[in-house]
Amino acid sequence: MYDGYGNPPGMRMPPPNPHPGQFGIAFNGPSSGLIRTGLEAYGGRFLDSSSEFMQSNINRYFSNPQYYFHVNDQYVRNKLKIILFPFFHRGHWTRISEPVGGRLSYKPPIYDINAPDLYIPFMAFGSFIILAGFTLGFMGKFTPEAINLHFTRALIGWALQLVILKGLLYSMGGGEVPLLDLVAYGGYLFAGLSLAVVARLIWAYSYYIVMPWMSLCMGVFLVRTMKRVLFTEMRSSERHSSRQHYFLLFMAIAQFPLFFWLGSIGA
């Protein structure tokens, strides 16, 4: 379903240049000659069939990651505005879908402001680590081990967010959403978090104002997005059940402890 850009899943063709994103490193890197000659000893078909196998099976669990990086400057700016101030977004929240080759797929982020992307989560994650380092430096407690600790903490926070989102979807019965979509939605929290940490660096007491505000914004953003996702995924009749609403509320409230835990740098 999600093949807006790149190889369609399930299509078995031998790759002309074996490239599926980061999985192609082994075939394109500096030791590729060695691997190729080694595998050629077993016959060319081994190389083709194994990479085919990997491609078709990986696509079952991960949609093509390149779809999520098809962004440009303008998209990044507007998406950041939506994430940080979701109240002011006047437009609709549905993703634009287009029929591609007989199947319905979503437009890539460069054409559709509501599409999830992975560039912002990764960059926000990096910014958060740098800002954590700054904060530690100002407190006099910077060591490289502390950076590693915050890196691990941030990864765990991201994974927790992913678990909450996936749990929500699973309990509602809609399991068709690709994993990388949820990874993207979960990663947007670092944008708000980084902004809160910047505010704290500028003025110490702004922490108590900006942090709850950012949690609230993230909660609202997630609620609106997941509501749309559930709306499109659920084909059954229980669309506006109260159970759904309770779960969405839980997800929004869970943002607060998550933000405060990740923001407690140096404690």
């Binding site: 500096p30 999520y68 990086f69 098809h70 962004v71 560039y119 680590i129 740098i130 100002f138």
Partner: protein
């Protein structure tokens, strides 16, 4: 009361061989006469032992050490020694090219020449990282392993982001070239680490100078990445932010010290937060 032991006076006479050493255990494989004390204190060139085939002059120069490894050097490879290529060439280290690449990055305002960096090598970056570590060592911080690890992770990150952003038209940027680029663009950070030894620690001056060097690194790195990959022009701002993050990480490492960074608004935060004090009773 301590007993008095008659201690014979120790006299060193020139006739006494001073290099008498007990044979080390398990020395069966090495030639046994190596441990016979050289009786004539003059050079043993006058007394060549027939079954030792190594260079006897070398044994004379270092007559005190048992020549365990001197054996194979002279044996059998004397004929092809002059025909071997020079060591640096064999290792693939092209010093002239490294020097040219370094000079091209050094000028902060003129942009670097990307054609020089088309062939990647890792020896220049390795030298830069070592000197970075050495300057840190002069400041009292032992960060060699950390720097190497962070460079690896950072270039993996950059490679991943860059290859995803430019889609399938990656040009000819592969991981090796990416690591080489990130390493070469560390040169301004190496200069900063040298400069930071003389600046007052933790002040605003260091912060400002650090930002200048980080921006220099970022500018060079972005330009080289965009040119080399031949398709990165439309994503320059996005790539520039990723490079900026990488070099900010290294500048954090530089500015870390044992003393707190003074003169920031954070001081008020520290003072106003009540710290529980224990009662000394």
């Amino acid at each position: 009361m301590a007993k008095e032991f008659p201690v014979p006076p120790v006299v060193f006479t020139p006739s006494t061989p001073t290099h008498r050493r007990p044979p080390p255990p398990g020395a069966g494989a090495s030639p046994p006469p190596a441990f016979a004390p050289p009786r004539p204190s003059t050079s043993s060139a006058a007394n060549p032992l027939p079954f030792m085939s190594f260079d006897v002059n070398a044994a004379a120069a270092s007559s005190s050490a048992p020549p365990l490894y001197a054996g194979p050097i002279g044996v059998g490879s004397g004929t092809s020694f002059e025909d071997e290529p020079p060591l640096l060439e064999e290792l693939g280290i092209n010093t002239r090219q490294i020097w040219r690449k370094t000079i091209s990055i050094l000028h902060p305002l003129r942009s670097a020449d990307p054609s020089l960096h088309a062939d990647a090598d890792l020896s220049g970056p390795f030298l830069f990282l070592l000197s970075f570590g050495l300057f840190q060592l002069l400041a009292g911080k032992f960060h060699f392993g950390i720097v190497l690890g962070w460079v690896t992770v950072a270039s993996l990150f950059l490679y991943f982001v860059f290859s995803m952003l430019s889609g399938g038209r990656r040009g000819d940027l592969d991981l090796y070239r990416c690591v080489s680029l990130v390493g070469y663009c560390m040169l301004p950070m190496v200069i900063f680490s040298a400069v930071s030894l003389f600046l007052p620690r933790g002040g605003g001056l260091m912060f400002g100078v650090g930002m200048g060097f980080v921006l220099w690194s970022t500018r060079v790195c972005t330009r080289l990445l965009a040119e080399l990959a031949s398709s990165g022009d439309e994503h320059r701002g996005l790539i520039a932010y990723a490079c900026w993050l990488v070099y900010m990480l290294f500048s954090l490492l530089l500015r870390a010290g044992s003393r707190r960074w003074a003169g920031t608004p954070f001081d008020t935060f520290q003072q106003n937060t009540p710290i529980p004090r224990c009662n000394h009773d």
